[in-house]
């Protein structure tokens, strides 16, 4: 074992670009809980995402990662703070930001092809162009043979690839992904990780990817934002400079994974202590 450096090389301050693609400024959000009170989900979240950057939001379950994503998507309004997209405040979902969920949420009454066309139909793209673009995207995710299939005929990984094609067909500038591969088996997950990286590299899209999987985050992201246990705040930022394609065996990747794990484990312990009612945590 090589000795750990005193300060992990992989951690550098986040860039504070004035021309951020996405800018999250002091976002806070609370939800009513079952006991009639309020639970703070997010507390003062601030970060920027540069154009074309791939960032991963990482944190223990229940830390509010998905809430951050929903706020970015415009599906939920923050209680405090704001989100800027290209410098303009976000106030609702828009075709410039595509979303990918854990559930592929394909429309079961449409063919795979019609699903991919959906967003194009919503923005009024003419039928012929719509068809061509959907065909092109299905080829990119290797689903050409299944264009006329119904979604239920696809495997889990294929459904998620169709959902990726559907999300990107309208050429959004931002892709927001909420644990999109969480329900897939290891093999399908690996294929999709590669697919997402390829699409990201080809399109230059800005990608915000929520996961609780440290390895996934480290393999994929330019920058990993680690969130604390609930209420969610940003704990640390890891800039990952390892070249792609990355492998878990790469020395730099392995070290970042270890670093992040150490910090994340501490956060998970806090969550467990709270859930099991450890009195030391009941402030």
């Amino acid at each position: 074992m090589t000795p750990e450096p005193a300060r992990p090389l992989s951690v550098v301050p986040a860039p504070r670009s004035d021309r951020a693609k996405l800018s999250v400024r002091g976002v806070a959000k609370a939800f009513p809980n079952v006991r009639g009170g309020v639970s703070t989900a997010l507390e003062d979240i601030t970060f920027d995402v540069a154009p074309g950057e791939f960032i991963c939001l990482l944190g223990p379950s229940g830390c509010g990662k998905s809430t951050v994503l929903n706020v970015l998507a415009g599906l939920e309004a923050p209680d405090r703070g704001e989100v800027l997209l290209d410098g303009h405040p976000v106030d609702g979902p828009g075709p410039d930001r595509a979303l990918l969920f854990q559930d592929p949420a394909l429309f079961p009454w449409m063919s795979v092809h019609a699903n991919v066309e959906f967003a194009l139909r919503m923005i009024g793209v003419p039928a012929e162009e719509r068809r061509d673009r959907a065909t092109e995207w299905l080829a990119k995710v290797h689903l050409s043979r299944f264009a006329e299939a119904q979604p239920h005929e696809l495997s889990g990984g294929m459904k998620q690839r169709a959902a990726l094609a559907r999300a990107l067909a309208s050429r959004p500038s931002v892709l927001l992904a909420d644990e999109p591969f969480g329900a897939l088996d290891a093999q399908a997950r690996e294929i999709l990780q590669q697919e997402v990286q390829r699409v990201w590299a080809e399109t230059g899209i800005t990608l915000v990817f929520v996961t609780h999987n440290v390895r996934e985050a480290t393999l994929l992201a330019d920058r990993v934002l680690l969130m604390s246990a609930s209420p969610g705040t940003l704990l640390e930022e890891y800039r990952i400079v390892a070249p792609r394609p990355r492998r878990l065996e790469d020395a730099l990747v392995a070290r970042v994974v270890t670093d992040i794990h150490e910090q994340l484990d501490e956060e998970v312990r806090k969550v467990v202590a709270r859930e099991t009612g450890d009195p030391t945590d009941l402030a």
């Binding site: 429309f107 009454w109 919503m122 923005i123 119904q150």
Partner: protein
């Protein structure tokens, strides 16, 4: 070939059940356990059925009833759908009008007949009125339930893909609600059919299966009564099978049934 075999496989248990009923009926009448005046043999009833069918009497009565049924269901479906969508869209409307519709649903439709007769006279308009009232509450409630049970995940996907306002309803909510809506229609037609027959039996003098039933009963013509009941039974089966096939097709397309 395999299609025919599959069809046979699906219906043979029903044929067995029908055979058992016929056998019990035959034994009861052949042994004289029930007098022929109260229970004519299956052969007598079959003969009556064939005769009245050939003469065009039964088909004509069935046709008149079915036209009323179709009209009644069409109006009930239109009314029920509009009301159901309104109740799904507005929580105030759901809590206000919804409670009335739920009350109507629990009320026997035939209770409207005296009022309908006073308004429209003892004629087929009163019959159709009762049919509509019998069917529309079920359709409205099922429409509301179907629209409200649409998976929030699909709605969220639709919104993030750019569907909003009426477009969200047209392209996501309505198609997603179709299977539940079809179930409402299936239930609605059953209520309509029951209400129609009840109203026809009470209102005498027209042409229709219910009218014919009460007339045959009035003439103590047990064989005709039984033959007409067989017709009513068969009409019900045919329509229900048609609905079931439609339902199965819609569900199979969405992967909601195995096979």
């Amino acid at each position: 070939m395999s299609r025919v075999r599959r069809a046979i496989q699906r219906i043979w248990p029903s044929l067995v059940a029908a055979g058992v009923v016929l056998a019990v009926w035959w034994v009861l009448s052949a042994t004289g356990a029930v007098s022929a005046r109260n229970l004519p043999s299956p052969a007598t009833v079959a003969h009556k059925l064939a005769h009245r069918t050939a003469s065009g009497k039964f088909p004509n009565a069935a046709l008149h009833s079915l036209i009323r049924l179709a009209f009644g269901i069409a109006v009930a479906a239109a009314l029920g759908t509009v009301l159901g969508v309104a109740m799904a869209a507005s929580s105030f409307f759901r809590r206000s009008a919804g409670s009335l519709v739920a009350g109507l649903q629990a009320m026997p439709p035939i209770a409207w007949l005296p009022l309908a007769a006073l308004w429209f006279g003892f004629n087929e308009r009163a019959v159709v009125f009762v049919t509509i009232l019998g069917a529309f509450p079920a359709i409205a409630l099922a429409t509301t339930a179907a629209a409200r049970q649409v998976s929030p995940i699909l709605v969220r996907a639709g919104r993030t893909l750019g569907a909003r306002g009426w477009g969200l309803y047209r392209h996501v909510v309505i198609p997603a609600a179709i299977p539940g809506y079809l179930q409402g229609l299936r239930q609605g037609w059953v209520f309509a059919w029951r209400s129609l027959l009840a109203a026809e039996i009470i209102i005498r003098g027209g042409i229709g299966l219910g009218h014919a039933l009460s007339k045959a009963g009035g003439h103590f013509d047990v064989a005709s009564v039984l033959a007409l009941m067989v017709v009513v039974f068969l009409v019900g089966i045919v329509i229900d099978v048609a609905f079931a096939a439609l339902d199965r097709r819609v569900r199979a397309r969405r992967g909601l049934v195995g096979g």
